[in-house]
């Protein structure tokens, strides 16, 4: 601690903090303009000047001056006031007096400052500058005549988002924000809009729709990826208008501009019942009665195992928990799964095999009733935990790692907050980033090592890295206590590094250097995404990475962990609350009962016409046809199911096959919680009217009650209390919090993995079905979602050289054929893709990428013009 005085007040401040931080902490006001708590201070505007003794004989910027022992700081004096007033006049000299029509009016920092400093007249004159307004860019509007050149937008774009899309041009009085021409071509995250202290950058979705003081603000978790960001939703007259993150101003494009999808005209408003080949609208009572009656009829005729459920990574924990309770307690079966089976669950199974299932002890019930959505359990002093959830990292710790290995993940499209965490980490010189991917991704530009492997060869590359590490240091002992090392070593010894280099396409030297970097690391982090998990051998890929972590990982060091990307808002939550046949809530393995088939196994049963195949399907949202590989097969099999109930907000292709469709509440129309990719709890409060639809939990509870199960609940709060009581690992869990810290005992068991990387088929191109930056599942592909203006349809990414050979130009239609099917899709030239690899986003229904796939997100295809 450092002792200093500010305005004669003796205060203590932390060493290394700035005078401004110290003053704010003690409630002393220092005016600022270019400073923002989420950015590094640059001291550009000089509004925050203070006099410091001992120090240089001139005022210093409080935001960029560190506290020192015995400092005497004066924040207000006639001299300082005169300086600030003069500076404000210079800022205001050419400021457009647009306040009545400026959307920032009412929360504008320049307005506040003008009032605080008492600027009444600007008695300076200068030439008027031409207002180069930008009305043509999508989503973001620019008004340079309102700009105060504080540089916040430039800094957030460069340092936090890493897009480097905007910068200043010209000098001095003529300084102007520029983006290298019109219109703006960037990630369209809009973080610049919310960090702007004035209205120089305007959100087009929100423009002119309300004044800042008229809106109701509700803080909630963002439902557009697994990052668990929290934002404020602005509503007026029960309509959502805007979202803002006041802490860091960071949100991605789909988070910031995706919310209008709630008001989509495509939304289902009433239950639909299939009749005479079409659907007719029905009342809730009729639809629910029909579902319950039909379920009863089927269970009586074919046993309760004849109903199969598919949970949803979009629905809340409460809904998913009730869903599994409906099957486990109500029907007494374990016939349920979630669509994460094809991606995230593969990773969890791999990690569980290596690090074991979670074991928790030393947890007790809290004495007084907990607050809503707070865990009723707390940890005692002896609290201990083990198992794989302990090696799953937290995004806020990632910047503390010293080496990050990113494999099979295009970080920003998969999980934007992970990209921001990497950018924060990259500010440290000691941090090393190793990016391994089959194509050039955003972080290749900033990576210290860039490995470009052939599609699908991830696990062989990892085997190569492990082999190279063990060859360079034969005495290497695993840094995590683990069994089975000798056997594993023998297996790895069979790997030939030259062979690996040839098959993966990564030069031997790079593999060796990566291994050396990882061996030296004191806190290595391993990040992997759905590109790697979504392959048919996703489990093997995860085993490879988990084994690598056993060798070099240091679970005790902050940031050193595994970071599998949970793609959707509740991909992790749906697994944690037990919507899987083999795990009960809290990843407790099912014992003493036969687990039901997994989702792929269930489809196999349907294909075989097995008597165990389900007679009825209960889908909790999730457009299976769009998400699951091999669409034609899934379509054929789902059509075989005699009775299918779908709970969804939209009439998806899967819903069109159903007998009963129940429309559900989405986003802020419902109350509930999500578990983000790093395990923290995000709270979704209700802020919008439901307009006739019902939240998932209510529908499940009503169907359950009609079937005679004890499943009546008053609110999600009650469900959460029951759910959290059975989850010892959630002890201490509260909104925005990942629960209490346990004394960790990370141990593992080396599990050999397969290194065969052959991809079936002889077609010339490899198609990768992956994520687009502007979309989250199929949720954001409905009008009027803001990001549709940026990416409005699927386009096939193709290397320009390949395109030239095929005679294709940007926008031409290409016919893509695989062993499974054929689609026609416009082409976009993408130099980031290597020759031979093509990319198609998975989000859109037309053309459906999954028509081409077999059992993996990689498939061999031929491409023709036409």
């Amino acid at each position: 601690m450092v002792n200093l005085t500010i305005d004669g007040r003796a205060i203590q401040a932390k060493k290394g903090c700035t005078i401004l931080d110290a003053a704010r902490e003690h409630g002393i006001y220092i005016p600022t303009l270019c400073y923002h708590q989420a950015l590094k201070p640059i001291g550009a505007c000089r509004i925050c000047v203070v006099e410091v003794k001992p120090g240089p004989p001139r005022p210093l910027p409080a935001c960029a001056t560190y506290v020192a022992e015995g400092q005497e700081v004066v924040t207000s004096s006639p001299k300082l006031d005169a300086i600030r007033l003069e500076l404000m006049k210079l800022v205001l000299i050419n400021h457009a007096l647009d306040c009545p029509i400026c959307d920032k009016g009412g929360e504008c920092e320049l307005q506040d400052l003008t009032h605080a400093l008492g600027v009444s007249v600007v008695d300076l004159e200068a030439v008027k500058l031409p207002p180069h307004k930008d009305y043509v860019s999508e989503l973001i509007e620019r008004h340079p005549d309102r700009c105060v050149t504080c540089g916040r937008c430039v800094r957030i774009c460069r340092d936090r988002v890493g897009a480097l899309a905007i910068n200043f041009t010209l000098r001095g009085y003529f300084t102007e924000l520029a983006s290298g021409g019109l219109p703006l071509d960037c990630e369209f995250c809009g973080s610049c809009i919310d960090i702007c202290p004035v209205g120089a950058l305007i959100n087009k979705v929100f423009k002119y729709r309300a004044r800042a003081w008229e809106v109701t603000r509700t803080e909630m978790v963002c439902p557009f990826c697994g990052g668990g960001c929290s934002y404020e939703l602005w509503t007026k007259n029960d309509r959502p208008l805007r979202v803002v993150n006041y802490d860091t101003a960071l949100l991605c494009g789909r988070g910031r501009f995706g919310f209008p999808v709630v008001e989509s005209p495509d939304r289902l408003k009433t239950p639909l019942i299939r009749e005479n080949g079409g659907f007719r609208e029905a009342s809730w009572d009729e639809a629910l009665d029909q579902v319950a009656a039909k379920f009863k009829e089927i269970t009586e005729a074919a046993g309760s195992a004849a109903i199969y459920g598919v949970g949803s990574p979009r629905a809340t924990n409460e809904a998913n928990y009730l869903f599994q309770k409906f099957f486990r307690t109500g029907l007494g079966t374990h016939q349920l799964d979630n669509p994460g089976r094809y991606t995230y669950v593969q990773a969890l199974k791999g990690l569980a095999a290596v690090f074991g299932f979670p074991q928790v002890s030393g947890v007790e019930k809290v004495a007084k009733p907990p607050l809503p959505f707070h865990s009723p359990l707390t940890t005692t002093e002896e609290a201990k935990a083990s198992g794989f959830p302990l090696v799953l990292g937290k995004l806020k710790d990632l910047p503390k790692a010293d080496v990050a290995l990113v494999v099979g993940a295009d970080v920003t499209p998969e999980l934007p907050p992970l990209g921001w965490a990497l950018n924060t980490a990259l500010e440290r010189d000691t941090f090393h980033l190793v990016v391994a991917n089959n194509r050039k991704t955003k972080f290749d530009r900033r990576a210290h090592l860039s490995l470009r492997y052939k599609p699908g060869s991830e696990r062989l590359l990892i085997a190569g890295i492990i082999k190279s590490l063990l060859t360079a240091q034969p005495e290497w002992a695993p840094t995590v206590i683990a069994g089975g090392f000798d056997e594993f070593k023998e297996n790895i010894n069979k790997v030939n590094l030259k062979d690996v280099a040839k098959k993966t396409g990564v030069p031997e030297a790079l593999i060796k250097e990566t291994a050396a970097r990882l061996a030296q690391a004191q806190a290595p982090a391993i990040i992997f995404g759905s590109e790697l998990m979504g392959q048919d051998k996703g489990l093997e890929n995860t085993l490879a990475l988990a084994d690598l972590f056993l060798l070099v990982g240091r679970p005790g060091a902050p940031g050193s962990a595994l970071y599998p990307v949970a793609e959707k808002n509740n991909t992790r939550g749906v697994c944690e609350v037990g919507v899987m046949p083999e795990f009960l809530p809290g990843f407790v393995p099912l014992e003493g009962a036969e687990p039901g088939p997994t989702l792929p196994e269930m489809l196999d049963l349907l294909e075989k016409g097995d008597p165990k195949a389900p007679q009825a399907l209960y889908l909790l949202g999730g457009d299976l046809l769009r998400q699951l590989p091999n669409r034609s097969r899934v379509e054929k099999l789902l059509k075989k199911v005699p009775f299918m109930v779908v709970q969804d907000a939209f009439l998806t292709d899967t819903a069109k096959l159903a007998q009963v469709i129940l429309p559900v509440a989405v986003h802020a129309e419902q109350e509930g919680t999500f578990i983000s990719t790093d395990g923290s709890l995000g709270l979704l409060p209700r802020a919008l009217p439901v307009n006739g639809v019902r939240p998932d939990w209510q529908i499940i509870s009503q169907i359950g009650s009609k079937m005679g199960f004890a499943m009546s609940y008053a609110s999600p709060k009650q469900i959460f209390a029951e759910l959290a009581l059975g989850m010892p690992r959630w002890a201490g869990m509260a909104p925005k919090n990942g629960g209490a810290a346990f004394t960790a005992e990370v141990t593992g068991q080396f599990v050999p993995f397969e290194t065969d990387i052959s991809l079936p088929g002889r077609r010339p191109f490899t198609l990768l079905v992956g994520k687009s930056l502007q979309h989250s599942g199929s949720f954001t592909t409905h009008e009027p979602c803001g990001t549709l203006t940026i990416t409005n349809r699927a386009r096939l990414g193709l290397n320009p050289a390949d395109a030239q050979n095929l005679g294709l130009a940007e926008g031409d239609f290409a016919k893509v054929t695989s062993s499974q099917g054929e689609i026609s899709v416009p082409v976009t030239l993408t130099p980031e893709l290597p020759e031979g690899l093509v990319f198609l986003p998975e989000h859109f229904s037309q053309p459906a990428a999954q028509r081409l796939t077999l059992n993996s997100n990689l498939v061999r295809v031929t491409i023709q013009k036409g």
């Binding site: 306040c99 009545p100 029509i101 009016g105 307004k133 009305y135 423009k207 002119y208 729709r209 004044r211 003081w213 008229e214």
Partner: protein, 143 residues
């Protein structure tokens, strides 16, 4: 006895030849002072457009919540203009704060004072009725 009566008649007689102080209302209207505060209305420019930019400051400042429901829209040249605007004269207290707060001189208190109505709903003015020269209350022909 007769003298007071004559005095009175003389006063009456005097008044017969002086200018009357009563007005033949409603045939004759009393002129109002230049700063008289009648009901608020939206001012129009020479080209017939409303000056209002829907900044809602009048709504904020209004002490009796007489102004409400201001909705803005974007014009062809990116200008902001109101598409909905309600002035509730049953609530208005004619204080003139709205006129004072308006940065565009787009709302003004006019000189109309004949606001009595048989139907209260006629006093709730929508954007068209609240606009200068369109105000139905200007026609005092309801008598």
């Amino acid at each position: 006895m007769i003298i007071p009566l004559l005095k009175g008649l003389a006063t009456t007689l005097k008044a017969c030849f002086s200018k009357p102080i009563t007005l033949q209302y409603p045939e004759v209207k009393r002129p109002v002072a230049p700063r008289f505060r009648g009901h608020p209305e939206l001012v129009i420019n020479d080209d017939g457009d409303r000056r209002c930019v829907a900044c809602t400051l009048c709504m904020v400042v209004c002490p009796s919540n007489a102004i409400r429901g201001i909705e803005a829209a974007e014009g062809e040249n990116h200008e902001k203009y109101p598409v909905a605007f309600t002035i509730d004269l049953t609530r208005c207290i004619f204080c003139g704060f709205c006129q004072e707060a308006c940065p565009k001189a787009a709302i003004k208190l006019n000189n109309l004072y004949e606001l009595a109505q048989y139907d209260k709903s006629r006093l709730i003015l929508d954007i068209d009725k609240a606009t200068q020269e369109k105000s139905q209350l200007r026609m005092a022909d309801w008598l």
